[in-house]
Amino acid sequence: MFLADSDIQSILLTVKLASVVTVILLLLGTPIAWWLARSRSRIKGVLGAVVALPLVLPPSVLGFYLLLAMGPNGPVGQLTKTLGIGALPFTFWGLVVASVFYSLPFMVQPLQNAFESIGDRPLEVAATLGASPLDAFFTVALPLARPGFLTASILTFAHTVGEFGVVLMIGGNIPGISRVASVQIYDHVEALEYGQAHRMAAVMLIFSFLVLLALYVWRPDARKIMRRD
């Protein structure tokens, strides 16, 4: 067989993680991006910087802080313990929480760009035609920002697939729970299983290339976002 069962398991886990994170970030990132695009508040710059932090921080730094926060003595850990969920580190959902933070800018920034490029006018027109802000958001802003949603979703998905450092810090290396494709490759290399490492690496390479190809062919303006990031 081309890939071992454990390899396939790690790939399926990666796809599941990336899908869950993309859906959560669509729900979470849209209002943040909307606020960043529309607000004239002074703290807009602060929030914008916070959202962009994962772009420059070493994943190990982010992972370290998240580990402390989610650990049994951290504020999030205390909260999850009180709620009866238990500690998040070294679980799939711990990985999801960490990935949401890690991939946040890849969702928010393309969406913010898309919302900003709509401008005020279509929303003003909608208002003078009797549409409430929420109505105008769903009937005007969302459809006009659709290409931005496509770009943001693809970038978020692909970026989550590609993460390694944060996963190691938060998730460790537990088969079926936190051993994603990038970690699996690392394991193969450590164990000097170069053949398997090659096959996994090839799958990742082809996948990443196809994602970027899709992005560049369908959405030429996505290149701007990639370059800026």
Binding site: T128, A131, T139
Partner: protein, 360 residues
């Protein structure tokens, strides 16, 4: 429509301060760009909140800083037509038209969709996307969309300035007829005097953020004649063109005018003639090169800057010529005197074809 609006708004270097009380269904706001016209209508529509003041439209308070009232734009029922059509690119023509209609409470829905589509001649466009419509088509759709929202007031913010001249004067009859037919009063914003005269009865003039006066659009044109390089623009409806010796002979108010050839794609239309292009003679000049010589009676004189406007009746029509006061003394021109007005055949400029002017 009755509007009472007292508003102040500060933008740092620019302050807008307006105090308006106006009644009528065809109101104009006239001013150069940067005079604050668009800011004023944005505040009326609720898109911009004034720093202080009060806006009352037909007895309904839309804004009052003293009482803490700021009605949201979607609650005001004031629709807008913008300079750029601002159509929704993700909706086709039909759904653009219906956007405001669907959101209008049933008790206010008086404009019928099919009737409006017929008046604006939009039927062939209904299922098309909006991105590949022509400029004039887009503006007609934008107008239809605003009217179908059944607003209590329609604001038109330079709706024609993005269009070229020939198109502008084709759209004006639509703007007028739609509003009149469906009984929707409008506020028309423009920096063009000719548009003001074709579209409005009462004009509020604005300059540098302040209201500088309120008068009829005709009066405004006369007031500005002396300082305008274009003079006063006579607007003439010419009809029944016949070709004669390589020129065009048009009927005008019971008389005839000869125009240079080249403008006769259609037989009739709206033409402009500057007050500067009319030369007055006290007696019949025996031979002149100008092809039109009209026998006129002076109906009145008015001062405008350093110039004197001479209003004359020629047959059933009226023309305004401008002269310097010296000339008026030499020719002894006064109310009731008879003069000859000479106009070159090349002095006329076509604004629009008549078919659109006479459209219902």
């Amino acid at each position: 429509m009755h509007l009472a609006m007292t508003v102040q708004k500060n933008f740092g270097a620019f302050t807008l301060s307006a105090d308006i009380t106006v009644s009528g269904d065809r109101i104009g706001i006239f001013g150069t760009s940067g005079s604050g016209k668009s800011t004023l209508v944005s505040m009326l529509a609720g898109l911009l909140e004034p720093d202080s003041g009060e806006i009352i439209l037909d007895g309904v308070c839309l804004f009052s800083s003293a009482r803490g009232i700021h009605l949201r734009p979607e609650k005001r029922r004031i629709a807008m037509v913008f300079q750029q059509h601002a159509l929704f690119p993700h909706l086709n023509v039909r759904n653009n038209l219906l956007y405001g209609y669907k959101r209008c409470p049933a008790e206010f829905r008086t404009v019928d969709f099919d009737t409006l589509v017929a008046v604006l001649e939009l039927e062939p466009l209904l299922h098309r996307g909006v991105t590949n419509l022509s400029g004039g088509e887009k503006q007609r759709v934008a107008l239809g969309r605003a009217i179908l929202a059944n607003p209590r007031l329609l604001l038109m913010d330079e709706p024609l300035s993005a269009l070229d001249d020939s198109l502008r004067f084709q759209i004006i009859p639509y703007l007028k007829s739609v509003s009149e037919q469906f009984g929707i009063p409008y506020l028309f914003i423009s920096h063009s005097l000719v548009e003001m005269r074709l579209m409005t009865d009462t004009v509020l003039a604005m300059e540098k953020g302040l209201m500088t006066g309120q008068c009829s659009s005709e009066q405004l044109a006369r007031n500005r004649m002396g300082q305008s390089s274009a003079g006063y623009i006579n607007l003439l409806e010419l009809s029944s063109m016949t070709e004669r010796d390589g020129m065009c002979a048009y009927r005008w108010q019971g008389g005839e005018l000869l125009l240079s050839a080249g403008n006769w794609e259609t037989t009739a239309g709206l033409f402009e003639l500057s007050s500067k292009d009319i030369i007055l003679f006290k007696k019949h000049p025996e031979a002149i090169s100008a092809r039109n010589l009209l026998h006129c009676t002076v109906a009145g004189l008015f001062e405008s800057g350093a110039k004197l406007g001479v209003e004359m009746t020629c047959g059933a029509g009226t023309l305004v010529a401008e002269i310097v006061p010296d000339a008026a003394r030499e020719l002894a021109i006064e109310k009731g005197s008879v003069v000859y007005a000479a106009i070159k055949a090349s002095a006329f400029r076509r604004l629009a074809a008549a078919t659109s002017q006479t459209r219902p």
